[in-house]
């Protein structure tokens, strides 16, 4: 069968065009322009090349050993230098030229230490409005070894959350020491010497039992029959003693 001349020419033309297209796609256009993995590798390289601004926790001790040793024993041992002094990678390269700022302002420490009900219990918190107004924090506390300037007089110095909760409760007038016996050492080494906690139902019963055990207790304190109330549960398994639910 004879293929017409026009078809042959057309076929040749199409073949050539296809060849040119393939050539352009696979040879002329550089692989870096079309290949995804090359693009990604390039992006990773760009990412890796970005400058580091925080020098890291171990960078400071070579020169500032005195501060690092001091801080390692105090309550701020988990706080790295750059948490307060800001990014210091430039300072490690040119110590003379760039000095990281030292936040001496009274507004800085409250970022962590303002009382906030969302903060975990036991974290030291203060009310910046009431706590020695206008005095910079560092005039009493050394940020590298923050111990209170004197042993706290009130439990609220550390247990602000409980103090504030209790202050609006019907237990507002009951002192912490009525229920907790705190060894003197608890004030200087809080976790080494823990205060006591009530252990029995009878302890709450000294105010709240219906019988003769609570005859000296204030009349307003709600009374229950300890033998029937609450079964074998301990009082604080249902009632929170720092904010008892009884009064609305």
């Amino acid at each position: 069968m004879k293929v017409p001349e026009q078809v042959r020419r057309l076929a040749l033309l199409i073949a050539i065009l296809a060849g040119v297209t393939l050539l352009a796609r696979f040879v002329l256009i550089p692989r870096a322009l079309v290949s995804t993995d090359l693009h990604w590798a390039e992006a990773v390289q760009r990412e890796v090349a970005k400058p580091v601004k925080f020098a890291g926790a171990v960078a400071c001790q070579d020169c500032h050993e005195d501060v690092v040793v001091k801080k390692a024993k105090g309550f701020h041992k988990g706080v790295t230098c750059e948490t307060c002094h800001g990014p210091a990678a430039k300072h490690t390269e040119e110590p003379g030229a760039v000095t990281p700022p030292a936040p001496r302002d009274r507004r800085f420490c409250p970022a962590c230490h303002t009382y906030d009900p969302s903060r975990p219990t036991g974290f030291p918190q203060i009310n910046p409005t009431a706590h020695n107004p206008l005095k910079p924090c560092i005039s009493c506390h050394n940020a590298h070894d923050p111990v209170p300037p004197r042993v706290p007089r009130e439990c609220a110095a550390c247990h602000a959350q409980i103090e504030r909760t209790k202050a609006v409760s019907s237990h507002a007038l009951i002192a912490c020491t009525t229920c907790h016996k705190a060894p003197e050492r608890h004030k200087s080494a809080p976790r080494a010497a823990l205060p006591s906690k009530p252990e029995t139902r009878e302890f709450c019963g000294t105010c709240h039992s219906a019988g003769t055990a609570a005859k000296d207790a204030p009349k307003e304190a709600p009374k229950v029959d300890l033998s029937t109330h609450g079964g074998r549960s301990l009082c604080w398994e249902c009632h929170y003693p720092h904010l008892p639910e009884g009064r609305t």
């Binding site: 002329l28 993995d37 990604w40 390289q45 925080f54 988990g78 750059e82 990014p87």
Partner: protein, 263 residues
């Protein structure tokens, strides 16, 4: 008629010839300059340390809710380290405050926004309240990567999801697709931007900036492929939950003591 034929003939001969010539020139030039095979070169350590091989690592982060004090140092450090615009509402990482009221109403505030409105809530009406630090979850199965029309976002061999800002066309599709709201459109480059686990730091053996500055060690960073890393220890010693597990995104940010109300 003849003119047209001559033109076509000329064209047929001219274009491929030019193409082949330039291709040959390119080949020759390429062979001289490039040398090595194409592919991701390992991010080398010049001073004699073993070269960094991404395939040996798989990074993740642990967050212990009970330790977070909501001081916002992480969000500030992240902005400093990664040149995130110092304007509220552009974040690679941020901290949320959850307040769950007695009537089961859940209030979520982004405290990194700065405008800290003192929620004058009666302490009796609050059931529980806590902080939740958030960032890109670096999902093993990331929706943002799936939807990108130009493959500008991808997962590295060591498990970080990063954006190729030269390829990103700024279509915001990934920002919509991220179930955790971890992406934003960078106002200067007009490309999508997100947490990279501080990739430039971790390949050098440093911690991400947010982990570095966290004063209470609420954030823990580590290598899941290592048998003994802080993160592996963290996931071993705590009951772990991830955000939105029902979406099957398989996040690599692990939360300890996470409340069920956290979205």
């Amino acid at each position: 008629m003849n003119e047209r034929r001559a033109f076509l003939k000329g064209a047929i001969v001219f274009f491929p010839a030019g193409g082949i010539l330039s291709a040959l020139a390119r080949e020759a030039a390429g062979a001289e300059s490039a040398g090595g095979p194409p592919g991701p070169a390992p991010a080398g350590q010049p001073n004699g340390k073993k070269a960094y091989n991404p395939a040996d690592h798989l990074y993740g982060m642990g967050i212990e809710i009970d330790k977070c004090i909501g001081c916002n140092r992480c969000a500030v450090a992240c902005k400093a380290e990664n040149d995130v615009p110092d304007v509220p509402f552009y974040f690679r990482t941020w901290v949320e405050r959850y307040t769950i009221a007695r009537d089961a109403e859940v209030l979520v505030e982004n405290i990194s926004l700065g405008s800290r409105k003192e929620t004058a809530q009666d302490v009796r009406e609050v059931l529980r309240t806590f902080f939740v630090p958030k960032l890109c979850n670096h999902c093993a199965n990331p929706p943002c990567v799936q939807v990108c029309p130009v493959k500008a976002t991808f997962t590295t061999a060591d498990g970080a999801v990063i954006v190729d800002d030269k390829r990103c066309i700024g279509c915001r599709y990934c920002i919509q697709a991220c179930p955790y709201g971890a992406r934003y459109l960078h106002p200067k480059t007009k490309t999508a931007d997100k947490c990279t686990f501080c990739y430039h730091r971790v390949v050098k053996g440093l911690q991400p900036a947010c982990v570095e500055v966290c004063p209470t060690q609420a954030r823990v960073f580590g290598d899941l492929k290592s048998k003994a890393s802080r993160l592996v220890r963290f996931t071993r010693m705590n009951k772990i939950h991830v955000l939105k597990p029902q979406l099957n995104t398989e996040p690599k940010v692990y939360y300890a003591q996470l409340d069920g109300e956290v979205r």
